[in-house]
């Protein structure tokens, strides 16, 4: 797949909540070629502070207008600066990067925790015309952490929202609600699970899926310097057919079969 590194115009940047932003950039090439699960490396300014680009999952594309979108949360210096950029300004954007989610089944269970929902939104949106059965679990701490609820409702067969404080949807951890649904037999066995969220959630989902014999793929996070396989910095340990080795989250992932991941700590 071709990679692009271009100075792209910011088409829009809007705040979805106090600390969550929706950014659209103009990049016809990336918009046309990217697929769900892939990500971008964005240089938030032209300075050496921060030095490195920041990785963001692709949230949606508008290929007709040549637009690629991300949704991001302000958690530190880089995302703060990004949130202060304005439409009409330009950003260096590298992408599309990484391996996509691979669909092998008719029944998809997408599980997005917090700011992990964007790649799953993209996946649901991307294959909406393909007549699959898509169930979307979307969890956050409170209702202020739930975005694009209407769109998701439209493109998924079923949307299950969970919040830790019960301010929207079911009350509880997304993993608990998922387990409950598995136990009550709502989910059929031949479904495939795709998840993205905080590491603790991903680990838990992965172990639940193993227990229930569900195939599952997970999109991982890692600190990244390059995003392209140059630095070897973003490794995760996997064990596959008895062989234990490091894989690059940026190049071999970010999407992995979750049963090969060795979860550390």
């Amino acid at each position: 797949m071709r990679l692009y590194d271009k100075r792209c115009e910011i088409k829009f940047i809007t705040s979805l909540s106090d600390d969550t932003y929706h950014l659209g950039i103009v990049s016809p090439e990336i918009s046309e070629s990217c697929i769900p699960g892939q990500f971008l490396m964005v240089r938030v300014n032209d300075d050496y502070e921060p030095l490195l680009r920041r990785p963001f999952s692709i949230f949606r594309t508008e290929p007709k207008e040549g637009i690629v979108e991300i949704v991001f949360e302000v958690v530190g210096k880089g995302t703060k600066i990004l949130s202060e950029r304005r439409s009409g300004e330009f950003l260096d954007v590298l992408g599309p990067l990484g391996k996509e989610f691979k669909i092998n089944s008719k029944n998809l269970i997408l599980i997005g925790g917090g700011i992990g929902f964007p790649p799953l939104f993209f996946m649901a949106d991307f294959q909406k015309s393909e007549n699959r059965n898509v169930v979307f679990y979307y969890g956050a701490r409170t209702k202020d952490g739930i975005f694009f609820e209407k769109e998701l409702g439209r493109i998924c067969n079923k949307l299950i929202i969970t919040t830790e404080d019960g301010s929207l949807g079911e009350k509880g951890l997304i993993t608990d609600v998922f387990i409950k649904d598995l136990e009550t037999g709502i989910i059929r066995g031949e479904a495939e699970v795709f998840s993205c969220g905080p590491t603790a959630m991903s680990k838990e989902i992965s172990s639940i899926c193993k227990r229930y014999n569900l195939k599952s793929q997970v999109s991982l996070e890692s600190v990244m310097a390059c995003g392209t396989g140059l630095c070897q910095g973003c490794v995760v340990r996997v064990e596959n057919a008895q062989k234990s080795e490091y894989k690059l989250v940026c190049k071999d992932g970010p999407v992995f079969d979750s049963d090969i991941i060795i979860w550390e700590d």
């Binding site: 071709r2 990679l3 692009y4 590194d5 240089r43 050496y48 502070e49 921060p50 030095l51 490195l52 680009r53 260096d92 590298l94 890692s222 600190v223 990244m224 310097a225 390059c226 392209t228 396989g229 140059l230 630095c231 070897q232 910095g233 973003c234 490794v235 995760v236 340990r237 080795e245 490091y246 550390e264």
Partner: protein, 304 residues
């Protein structure tokens, strides 16, 4: 037309800008982004005899205008390198320098011997300066005798370009450089990364699993430049400058100070086209200063 070529030993580089070891993979990773053939050359990820999986994560962390890495010389080993990567280089129209490391002098020699037999690189960069391994690496490069001995041993195995890559984490880098030059090195490259550390004050854990790692990027440039100045003042063989070079101006500082070429490292991470841009910016500088040949500015520092 300005002439950008530089010659080190018998090898002519089409321009003085190479990619630094460990920051450009094996050379084929981002070939859809930049044309490797526009580069003066590439230095491969450091190759060891046996494959190395490298250090446990987290391996990298960002610091002010820099980053710390603790990759630990993760590489596929010389055998797979020869089989899987070297064939690609046949189609490259640029110089390929293979970076080599080991834990003992024998280790270094085994890799070079293997490469001599199997492929035809333009030269070797002998990495005696990696701060992220328990043996070899920085422990060789911090010691005059060891540095001399590795150089001698490798020199005997090849007539190709032998570049010795030095660590800046020493009291007198020119002392080590002198020893290495006497032992038959064609060229010295410097600097490798600085030993550095960062702590997460909330968890009270080091941000790098192995606690310390190698600091690189714009923050180290002034120290690297001073090291190049020191070595160029005291040692007679050519020097390749490395350390924080991110723009044409940065590269020019090193050339003016006396380096005959430069390697670009961390900059390629945040700006994959940096090596190519740097070549363009050097060209523009020469043009606008009416300098015909890049070698005219090498060592042209005015020390009044």
């Amino acid at each position: 037309m300005v002439d950008l070529t530089v010659k080190i030993g018998d090898i002519v580089f089409k321009n003085p800008v190479l990619t630094a070891s460990g920051t450009f993979g094996y050379g084929d990773e981002i070939s859809s982004l930049i044309d490797v053939n526009s580069l003066g050359g590439i230095v491969t990820k450091t190759i060891t005899f046996s494959p190395r999986e490298g250090n446990p994560p987290p391996r990298i962390t960002e610091t002010t205008a820099g980053m710390i890495n603790s990759i630990g010389l993760a590489n596929i080993g010389v055998e797979r390198f020869v089989k899987e990567k070297a064939p690609i280089y046949k189609s490259f129209d640029t110089r390929v320098i293979v970076s080599v490391a080991g834990e003992t002098i024998d280790d270094y020699c085994r890799v070079v011997e293997y490469l001599e037999k199997e492929i035809s690189a333009d030269g070797y960069e002998i990495n005696i300066s990696c701060p992220n391994t328990e043996k070899g690496g920085i422990y060789f490069g911090s010691n005059r005798e060891m540095s001399r001995n590795v150089t001698k041993a490798v020199r005997q195995l090849t007539s190709k370009l032998v570049i010795i890559k030095l660590t800046p984490n020493v009291t007198s880098i020119s002392d080590i450089a002198g020893a290495v030059a006497d032992a038959g090195a064609d060229c010295i490259s410097l600097v490798n990364s600085f030993v550095g550390m960062a702590v997460d004050v909330e968890t009270r854990k080091p941000k790098i699993k192995k606690i310390i790692g190698g600091l690189t990027g714009p923050c180290i440039k002034p120290i690297a430049l001073a090291k190049v100045y020191e070595v160029c003042s005291k040692v007679d063989i050519p020097v390749i400058g490395i350390g924080g070079i991110s723009t044409g101006e940065d590269a020019l500082e090193f050339l003016i100070t006396g380096a005959c070429a430069v390697e670009v490292g961390t900059a390629t991470f945040f700006d994959p086209k940096a090596p190519v841009k740097i070549i363009e910016e050097i060209k523009e500088y020469l043009n606008s200063n009416n300098i015909k040949n890049v070698s005219e500015i090498v060592g042209s520092l005015i020390q009044s």
